[in-house]
Amino acid sequence: MPLLLVLLVALEGHAFPVDQSSEPAGQSSKPAGQSSKSVGQSSKSADTPEKWLETMIQATQNLTYRGHFVYQQGANLETLAVAHTLQKVGGKSEELESIAFLDGLPREMVRQGKIITFASAGREPTRFEHESLVPMVGRFTSGHFDNHYKLKPAALDRIAGREAVQLLVVPTDRFRYGYQLWLDRRTGLLLKSVMVDSEGRIIERMQFTSLELPGNLTSQELERLKRKLPASTGKNVVKLSGKSVPGKAEWSWETGWIPEGFSPHGHSSRNSAVSSQKVDTLNFSDGLASFSVFVEPDETRVLSQATEQIGSMAAVSKVFRNGEKYFHVTVLGEIPLGTAERIAVSVRPREQSQKADK
């Protein structure tokens, strides 16, 4: 640690050069609004770790890039390819993105604006549709991000042949994981990410092995990204709503406890993929980590509970009861298993409905 501090001092002023001409629009705690329409290929640099994170999100969404990266969790190592660009559709710019697994079973995620399709060989494609997109602006500079993570610039490094700024993201409690992030010094793109638990054990690692930032993707690439994807059957079409929280009376359940700093960012109510019931979904994020809570009526009468750590994902399944009805709760997320369990256990019927039952 002392060594790191020395390093920090030494790097102060060098690691984070401020490009005066292109400072992020929203300097203060105010969200930057819809950031400038033309985020050039050489995106803005930032001078504080928080602004670096903002830049990271903007870069991921707005730049045109292609590259290969590896993803490791546990003993598994996978190679993936990504291509990303923006296209103008009726005056609005839409994201076009493809992330493909290059090893094993061919799997690909394609994002076409508000529609995301996940295709896997031998399975029905799953399509997600967003009713609205919430711009991820001001996520780190506004709000209370720094109550839950301490950000420390660590060092300059080199990833995939590019100069990278390393940030340490240290959680202030044990409800979330910590991160080491390497951001492209020129654009802010995330080049490498390491997620660690409270003991410092590495949970997952993502790292670009090659990255290009061409002005435009080739016409073949664009064609591929814009191709019409096989329509999926109705039950796999998921409408996701960006509105923050569902209306009070809408759902019969609530979470009794979620870790501080997490707020709901998206919800949906749809036919479950695994039962004939409607499943309510609520997604929470603290800016970096996120988890989802799924609640559906249980009809199996086999009340099963399970707790599983699957790679970096904690998965908890349990049942709660409201009067004569049983409900199945599933919590999934990149959070420590203990956190996921505590969230799952806290899910309960809403107060008023509980009273009505008695």
Binding site: L53, M56, T60, F69, Y71, Q73, N76, E78, L80, V82, I99, G104, R111, I116, F118, T126, L133, V134, R174, F175, L190, S198, L240, G266, S268, S272, A273, V274, T281, N283, S285, G287, L288, S290, S292, F294, T300, V302, L303, S304, Q305, A306, T307, I310, G311, M313, A315, S317, F320, H328, L332, G333, E334, L337, G338, T339, E341, R342, A344, V345
Partner: protein
């Protein structure tokens, strides 16, 4: 301190072991010591129940599922199994009981069950059932072949209440261990399928809501390769 007769000393150690066991921190030896005595020692049993209630209250556990009473089912199960193990083993000590419990659990499909779960179940979360609200759950399911699981709250350093669950049968007389195991494997498959299906949606929502760009989808690798 002339009171410190060997008996009291042993009692003291037993209490310490109990407290450790309730905290999920007992070693195997300590746990055996507690299991060995819990059947015959009314004081110890009461103490254990109190510990558990206090512990749950401290952890603000008001979950419905702590109310499930499995002690009867397990006791019955133990009764039917103990004779065999006694016959097999030269000493019908607590070790026998523990093994029976272990065997029972593993028959139910759980290979690893925290010792504290077994203990909690043996003690009977029954205490809770003295409250009227807790009763309907049991009453409402007795007429059906319903499987349910005990929940034991374990401390795991997150200040979080962890779940460690095993399986039990309410109608253990009519369900063979094989059926139970089969039911469990069906349930496990269902859960796995559920996790997989929901992981996709979680990844999708995370991609939209957390600032991690390409990571949410890369994370699906484990699900798809299973």
């Amino acid at each position: 301190m002339s009171e410190k007769t060997p008996h009291n000393h042993a009692q003291e150690r037993l209490n310490e072991s109990l407290s450790a066991a309730m905290d999920g921190e007992a070693g195997e030896f300590e746990l055996r010591r507690v299991l060995d005595n819990i059947g015959s020692d009314e004081d110890l049993r009461d103490k254990a129940r109190r510990y558990q209630m206090v512990g749950d209250a401290l952890r603000h556990e008001t979950n419905e599922f702590v109310n499930i009473d499995l002690s009867a089912a397990i006791r019955d199960r133990l009764k039917s199994e103990v004779p065999q193990s006694v016959a097999k083993e030269t000493s019908a000590s607590s070790q026998g009981v523990l093994e029976v419990v272990d065997r029972w659990w593993s028959k139910a499909g759980r290979v690893v069950v925290a010792a504290s779960v077994a203990l909690a179940v043996l003690l009977g979360v029954k205490n809770y059932n003295s409250t009227p609200e807790a009763l309907p759950l049991v009453a409402s399911v007795t007429d059906q072949t319903t499987l349910s699981q005990p929940v034991q709250i374990a401390q795991n350093g997150y200040g979080a209440a962890g779940i460690q669950a095993g399986y039990s049968s309410r109608q253990h007389d009519s369900i063979t261990p094989e059926q139970l195991a089969q039911a469990q494997s069906v349930a496990d498959r269902a859960i796995r399928e559920r996790f997989r299906a929901y992981a996709l949606q979680h990844a999708e929502m995370s991609a939209m809501n957390s600032g991690q760009g390409i990571l949410p989808f890369a994370r699906l690798t484990t699900f798809e390769s299973q």
